[in-house]
């Protein structure tokens, strides 16, 4: 009868030093006792993207915003021209009913047609 070869001693498991919370230590993907795969390259942080330069919001004039608040903020006494440049005339044609409604709203809200229309045109250009 031959003497059986001595049994190799127990060794530490290949993943004994891998923290269970480390995904590279998962054994569902490989047989036990196999050397764990090297940790995957960490996913690089996304390069900071250069945000598209938004059109500058014009805050210098009281009526250059596009919200109703900015329109409301401009009272008669604090009113300034929508633009510091030279004021020019712009002739437009509107339906008579719309002009009537517009005038009534200007009176009720103590607004000037020039200021409101300049703000609307600016908002339309900046949209």
């Amino acid at each position: 009868m031959t003497t059986p070869a001595p049994r190799p001693a127990l060794r530490k498991a290949a993943d004994a030093h891998v923290h269970p919370a480390d995904p590279s230590g998962s054994h569902r993907l490989r047989p036990a006792g196999q050397t764990p795969a090297p940790p995957a390259e960490p996913i690089p942080a996304p390069a900071p993207t250069v945000p598209a330069v938004p059109a500058p919001r014009r805050l210098s004039g009281p009526l250059n915003g596009i919200t109703s608040d900015s329109l409301r903020a401009a009272g008669r006494r604090g009113r300034r021209r929508a633009d510091d440049g030279k004021l020019v005339e712009l002739t437009v044609k509107l339906p008579k009913s719309l002009r009537k409604e517009f005038r009534a709203a200007l009176k009720a809200q103590d607004r000037q047609a020039d200021d409101v229309l300049a703000a609307l045109v600016r908002a339309w250009l900046d949209r």
């Binding site: 049994r7 127990l10 498991a13 993943d15 891998v18 269970p20 230590g25 054994h27 036990a32 006792g33």
Partner: protein, 264 residues
């Protein structure tokens, strides 16, 4: 404790101590029974299959290199012998330590994955009268290994609604494991642990007794600070002289006797 199991020492008891709910004191019961068996002169081994390794900390083995994680990763017949170390409780009680990395073994790794503990313990337990396997509080591959290796499963619960459900699920798991991997497996009983004097606990305890009249083991184990003190000092509960510890010692001795009767 005494049953003939897997052809080892006559009278050897091997129990998988399980609970599918955490925090019921499963490890405390395993340690209490280990202390009782050891104090009775039985050579005792605790196999720590819980990645939290609380049983290992309480048994406080001297320097050790290998754990149940290494044993299960290796998987060779009888290799668990190499991982057995002496507990500092004293001569006659040993441990196969657990460790956090056991989480890596909590998933199936091939067709014989659930049989690794049984294979590795084969031939390594000949000198023990009592073997207790402390399982994690879940039904993963570690618990499946314990249920495939042990001839009996001891279910630990506490008198609460959720724990009741956990006990029911644990009993189902024992049935499934018996059919799948271990035809000799049977429930050793249900230990009700951490019982306090409250109407809710009294109600749930009675509910358990009604649901499992033949499985609930007496006496229930009260929630006592002596248990935490023993674990914190890494000493067996049987070595403490405080009245609470003495009461627990008596209860665990009675419980061990009832487990022996249940399995005989």
């Amino acid at each position: 404790m005494g049953i003939v199991a897997h052809g080892r020492l006559p009278g050897m008891a091997m129990l998988a101590v399980i609970s599918l709910k955490g925090g019921v004191g499963k490890t405390s019961v395993a340690l209490g029974l280990a202390a009782t068996a050891w104090a009775a002169g039985h050579r005792t081994l605790v196999v720590d299959l819980d990645p939290q390794a609380n049983a290992t900390a309480a048994l406080d083995p001297e320097a050790y290199e290998f754990t149940t994680n290494d044993v299960l990763a290796d998987g060779r017949l009888g290799i668990a012998e190499d991982a057995i170390v002496a507990s500092r409780w004293g001569p006659g009680i040993d441990v196969i330590a657990g460790e956090r990395a056991l989480e890596h073994r909590a998933h199936a790794e091939g067709p014989d994955s659930a049989l690794r503990l049984r294979t590795t313990l084969s031939g390594a337990l000949d000198r023990y009268h009592t073997v207790l396997i402390d399982c994690p509080p879940s039904l993963g591959e570690l618990t499946r290994n314990a249920l495939a290796a042990a001839p009996a499963a001891l279910i630990v619960t506490e008198p609460s609604y959720f724990a009741l459900q956990g006990a029911e699920q644990a009993l189902e798991a024992v049935e499934v494991a018996r059919a799948a991997t271990n035809l000799g497996l049977r429930p050793a009983g249900v230990v009700v642990n951490r019982v306090r004097r409250s109407s809710e606990h009294a109600y749930r305890l009675e509910e358990l007794r009604r649901a499992y009249p033949e499985l609930v083991l007496e006496p229930p184990i009260p929630d006592r600070t002596a248990m935490a003190a023993a674990q914190g000092a890494a000493v067996p509960i049987t070595s403490l002289r405080a009245p609470g510890a003495q009461d627990l010692t008596r209860r665990f001795a009675t419980l061990a006797g009832h487990i022996e009767e249940a399995l005989s």
